[in-house]
Symmetry: C2
Subunit: 377 residues, 2 copies
């Protein structure tokens, strides 16, 4: 049975109660789109926050009430639901679209109340910390004082880590997956090339394109770059190899010969229909800025964590070359230095960075076991 | 002492003696720009052909006669010259710009004699095999019947391998470096994204831009993608890490915060000044098409090679993730199956695919020793 979900919206930060951002700028009002599954118990201590990756959304699992029956469910449906790894018969699951995105939460495509037009580049830069602060506002609104767990992969994992240093008292446990303590030069490089691809498109028009067609070509190229980094050499070799698309021989033109080319073009054009180019700029920049050591008083925060010890399950994938296992090990070491209770698992998988989005009983069992263990601890 | 070099041009293939290309199309006349160092001996058996990489040129070493004194020498100057690893006191070194390029040899920016305008996309697709065929024409012109060695890295290494199966009788020895027997899905993916970046630029104008400004933005993005693949995670970490550019704190805008961003932007803008966008399209496509098994009668050719055994020195780099060592091992195994005399060396280096372009006495000594060994064999 697929759970029926309603997308909800929480708005806060009307002037003068705007949110102070890490940049020093202020933003408000802010709307956060979110979805919940399961029931919050009377003690309000069974809430799990799931943080989505770069271009994800709040639709973590289930189907919307008005979805036609054959609509694909949310992006982590194999993991979240009744009796699943994150069991919504036991836990109250919350997933919200990040600040700066375009899937319901306030971002550069939202209307700027000062001008009644989309913000565009007038939207202030937001950081992973700003995203977490907005999630905290939502939890306050829901009356949740402590999270049973906070879980997320990739940029979602950065939010998980930021939660642990920003609001350690609220985090009973954390599962950062396929992520890093700080964005590497390689990861920054890929993001920068993606941004340049968008900004090179004349239709980008310095971010003011909402009345026109938008930088579709640049955004598609940016997404293609992203997709290469989400896969791996092994995954591409197995999935595509040198297989030709609909042809027995080379075309000797630039229409695309290989299946991997068609795949990337398809991913690029599909993305253009669902995502805002400016949001890609803002969200990649937030990821690039992410560096746990930049969080104010991190060391102290991590040390504070040891007074209120959280349990961590750190997960990496062998073929993830965007946030390779050595970066997960660095995180594990840092957590151990601050005397946290850390479990670490590297999952052998050849599908690259995106492995956590692909159904795999090893991941499900790891998360289920970890969450079960908390209950009996 | 830096040798003084003159760039030379060889033209062949006037109608009806045009070159039949692998695509089945014909091309002519064809001009090949080339440079030579050292002296061809009386027996004409001391010639070494050096094949350049994707966007390289014929200027392998030395300075042009009319260069100001402080002009940087050719791209492999540390390797090629009097007394160097490829010793021009002993060998006659030839390096020619590949067919389809824009550095003196015929390519899409050349004038199409049928229209008196640049070819643009009317230029026929060329393959690594077509490049080698044009090099063969030059050797015929120079009266060279056998190469002491053919040496090249990356796409230059593909030319080396193509030489060995296309004209085995002409190849006494071969040194393919940081290369592959066939372009992988990952390598095709990066090339395709680069091509899409160029073709997404409205100034590309379906390849007809020679009277205008050209697709500078798209070409710069394409080059940035290339540069990410030429480096490595380790190289970027050591070279850039998360160091900021001229700032003590984040800019919170899209102007570029990190040194790696500035580096990539600089590489992109520098490339736009020296290289033709259409040539990038053609040359990346030639690399993507490269698959040694597609060479007609390869197996037979490789077996034929065993009658006239060549000596091979295959070199790979530990941090090359564009053509990783496992691909070099596949090549070594294929050569051994056809009973070739193969030496293989994986060089430990953290600078990625471009390592062969960086001065390193290990590479120099390997090549020097291999070439010396041939003389005494």
């Amino acid at each position: 049975m697929t759970e029926k979900i309603t997308k909800q919206y929480f708005t806060y930060g009307d002037s003068p109660n705007v949110q102070l951002l890490e940049s020093g700028l202020e933003l408000g009002p802010i709307t956060i789109a979110y979805e919940t599954l399961g029931q919050l118990n009377g003690a309000k201590d069974n809430a799990i926050l799931i943080c989505h990756a770069l271009t994800g959304d709040s639709h973590v699992a289930g189907q919307y009430c008005d979805d036609p029956p054959d609509t694909p469910p949310g992006w982590w449906n194999f993991m979240v639901g009744p009796g699943k790894g994150i069991d919504t018969d036991r836990y109250f699951v919350i997933c919200c679209n990040v600040l700066g995105s375009c899937m319901g939460s306030t971002g550069p495509a939202s209307i700027n109340p000062a001008t009644d037009k989309p913000y565009g580049l007038d939207f202030p830069m937001v950081t992973i910390g700003d995203m977490v602060d907005s999630q905290k506002q939502l939890l306050n609104h829901l009356g949740i004082r402590q999270l049973y767990s906070v879980i997320g992969g990739s940029v979602g994992g950065m939010q998980v880590l930021e939660w642990c240093v920003r609001y350690p008292e609220m985090v009973r446990s954390a599962i950062p997956i396929a992520t890093t303590m700080r964005h590497s030069a390689l990861a920054i490089a890929f993001n920068e090339v993606a941004r340049q691809a968008i900004m090179a498109d004349p239709s980008w028009n310095k971010g003011s394109y909402y009345e026109g067609s938008g930088p579709h070509h640049g955004l598609a190229v940016a997404r293609m770059i992203g997709h290469v980094t989400y896969l791996s050499d092994e995954a591409m070799r197995k999935k595509f190899g040198r297989q030709l698309q609909n042809k027995e021989d080379f075309s000797f033109n630039f229409g695309g010969d290989f299946q991997v080319e068609s795949y990337l073009r398809y991913q690029g054009s599909k993305f253009v229909k669902r995502f805002d180019a400016n949001s890609v700029l803002y969200l990649t920049k937030a990821a690039d800025y992410f560096d746990l050591k930049n969080v104010e008083n991190t060391v102290e925060s991590l040390n504070d964590l040891s007074h209120k010890q959280s349990k961590f399950l750190v997960i990496s994938y062998t073929s993830d070359w965007l946030y390779p296992t050595y970066q997960a090990r660095e995180l594990v070491q840092a957590l151990k230095r601050s005397r946290q209770d850390v479990s670490f698992c590297e999952i052998e998988a050849d599908c690259g960075h995106d492995a956590f989005l692909i159904e795999d009983s090893r991941l499900t069992n790891l998360i289920r076991g970890f969450l079960d263990g908390l209950a009996t601890a």
